[in-house]
């Protein structure tokens, strides 16, 4: 009887410990934010560098050298359907083949990590979270052969060459034992829309905390006026363009005429 009671007490104690471990107060948590929440595209826009910063709360690391934590930051831009085509030679000229289309290819995707991200978490975990260019979900293909990975590889390669897809091992750097920062370069051709910056905190290969912040890329001022006019009042926009061209032509003729 006493034995049973003590066993029950032991079980209870074990449960309490387990509950305590799951309690957010004592577990490591990651907090993060981005330096610029609104990115304005004006006529002098040539790309921008944003800073993602954060800290690990309740870090139990004594010195940075322990390096038991791994931080991975993923910045995802708006998705859009795209087709990837390959040229074939037909009758001496190079012609676009039917290719393969992807429903939700991100217009921007960057992975930054505090050390090579494959050493931070297992391939399965990375695949589940969509971390890494090999694991990005491009959505269902709507044409082409599903087994042909060459088109997917080409999409990744072309976007990487444009700076729209990035993998940067060591892009997240620690300042002291709990503060970290990551610089992400958005090139000039970034699509407009809503972006998310996800910060994942791993410990010993396990995801222990995640923080999401958002940013918005939009055209402002003159660029915005032109853009919205072109898409909301296209006929008026066309008339304006013709009128401006005629005006420029008249001005040019008047300025250069010889009397």
């Amino acid at each position: 009887m006493i034995r049973t009671a003590s066993f029950a007490a032991l079980l209870l104690a074990l449960f309490c410990t387990a509950a305590n471990a799951a309690e957010p107060d004592t577990q490591e948590q990651v907090q993060s934010d981005v330096s610029t929440r609104e990115i304005a595209i004006e006529s002098n826009f040539t790309g921008i560098e944003i800073l993602i910063f954060g800290s690990i709360d309740f870090s139990d690391e004594q010195t940075p050298a322990e390096a038991s934590y791994g931080v991975i930051t993923v910045v995802r831009g708006p998705t859009e359907p795209v087709a990837v085509t390959r040229k074939h030679r037909i009758g001496g000229i190079w012609v676009n083949g039917p290719g393969k289309s992807f429903a939700t290819a991100p217009g921007f995707y960057a992975v930054l990590s505090s050390r090579p991200f494959r050493s931070i978490a297992s391939d399965d975990t990375l695949r589940q979270l969509g971390i890494g260019l090999a694991n990005v979900d491009f959505g269902r293909y709507t044409r082409g052969h599903h087994a042909d990975d060459a088109y997917r590889a080409a999409l990744v390669r072309l976007r990487t060459e444009e700076g729209l897809f990035q993998e940067n091992d060591g892009g997240v750097s620690f300042i002291g034992r709990s503060l970290f920062r990551a610089n992400v370069t958005l090139p000039v051709n970034v699509p407009i829309g809503h972006y998310t910056a996800d910060v994942y905190l791993f410990r010993d290969g396990k995801l222990v905390s995640k923080n999401v912040s958002g940013l918005y890329v939009n055209k402002v001022g003159f660029e915005r006026v032109i853009y919205s006019l072109a898409f909301q009042h296209p006929f008026l926009y066309g008339l304006l363009a013709v009128a401006l061209a005629v005006l420029a032509g008249l001005t040019g003729w008047y300025a250069f005429r010889r009397d």
Binding site: P81, A83, T85, S101, Y151, E223, A230, P234, G249, G252
Partner: protein, 307 residues
């Protein structure tokens, strides 16, 4: 420092490069009486502007350079308004047909290829014919022989009905050939993003037998209206017109065009035609080269939004 972000093309270009491009094309436009679109559209594409935006924006730039070019020609009495009006009527009908054709080709994803092939065929044939004809005239003139004046000669065109009087060109011919020529040019204008000068100038010289100086003035006059219609159609249906890029190009083009008109007056008609033929052939060869030589990058990404 000189980089400027284009709101519709969504990329950053060097403003000086684009001004220079507009000026160079405007110079040729004023000199030869062509819109220069056959040069501007490929040059914009070579600079990294997406083809659809290059076509629409190029058309808008040609409106501006054609206005100042026409005024310069007008003062010299080189514009046949009657002939221009008939060409424009045909041209507007052709432009509408061209936009519909382009939309159909875009749906099967082969618009780029067909545009390039059409460019190569038209520029190649016309460039070769013009070069051959003008060199023959130049050789004969050098040899001291007189070249028989062509105007007044009769061909099959003079047998057609609906005759109209075109006093400026000293012609009394049927309205059907100018209407058909106008329609063909309108079709090509909207389809290729050109003014169509490279078609209409030889057509008026060789088919209608108009005097060369009147041909240039009248061609550039009708190009204003055809490219204005093309600009409106592209802006409304495809949203591919970049106003900022068009403004930069038009400023360069207007300045270049004025110098072009003056440069053109230093040369004889056949010399101008020979020079234009060389430029036309060079563009055709460059486009053919791109079609035939294995591209460095076989893959390309095509956005499907709005399709």
């Amino acid at each position: 420092m000189f980089q400027v972000y284009l709101p519709i093309a969504e990329l950053s270009v060097n403003i000086l490069v684009m001004l220079g491009l507009g000026a160079a094309v405007g110079f040729l436009s004023g000199m030869f009486g062509v819109g220069g679109g056959f040069l501007l559209t490929p040059l914009l594409m070579f600079s990294g502007i997406p083809p659809a935006i290059a076509v629409a924006t190029g058309a808008n730039q040609i409106v501006g350079t054609s206005v100042s070019g026409t005024l310069a020609q007008w003062r010299r009495g080189n514009v046949d308004v009657h002939m221009g009006a008939v060409l424009i009527v045909g041209g507007v009908a052709g432009a509408l047909a061209g936009v519909l054709l382009l939309k159909a080709l875009q749906q099967i994803g082969q618009s780029g290829l067909i545009i390039s092939l059409t460019y190569v065929v038209f520029l190649g044939v016309i460039g070769t014919l013009m070069l051959w004809e003008s060199l023959r005239v130049i050789r004969r003139t050098r040899a001291g022989k007189t070249v028989p004046a062509r105007s007044g000669q009769h061909n099959w065109i003079h047998g057609l009905p609906f005759k109209m009087r075109f006093p400026q060109s000293r012609l009394y011919i049927s309205a059907i050939p100018p209407l058909v020529i106008g329609a063909v040019v309108g079709l090509l204008a909207s389809f290729l993003g050109v003014g169509g000068g490279f078609i209409i100038v030889p057509a008026m010289i060789y088919l209608l037998r108009m005097p060369t100086n009147i041909v240039i003035g009248t061609a550039i006059f009708q190009i204003i209206f055809v490219t204005a219609v093309v600009t409106l159609l592209h802006a409304t249906l495809n949203h591919t017109l970049d106003l900022l890029l068009a403004l930069i190009l038009v400023i360069g083009g207007v300045i270049g065009g004025q110098f072009g008109v003056r440069a053109g007056h230093r040369f004889r008609g056949e010399q101008l035609r020979a020079m234009l033929a060389v430029v036309v052939l060079a563009v055709a060869l460059r486009l053919l080269f791109d079609l035939v030589v294995e591209p460095v990058e076989l893959y390309s990404i095509i956005p499907l939004t709005g399709v």
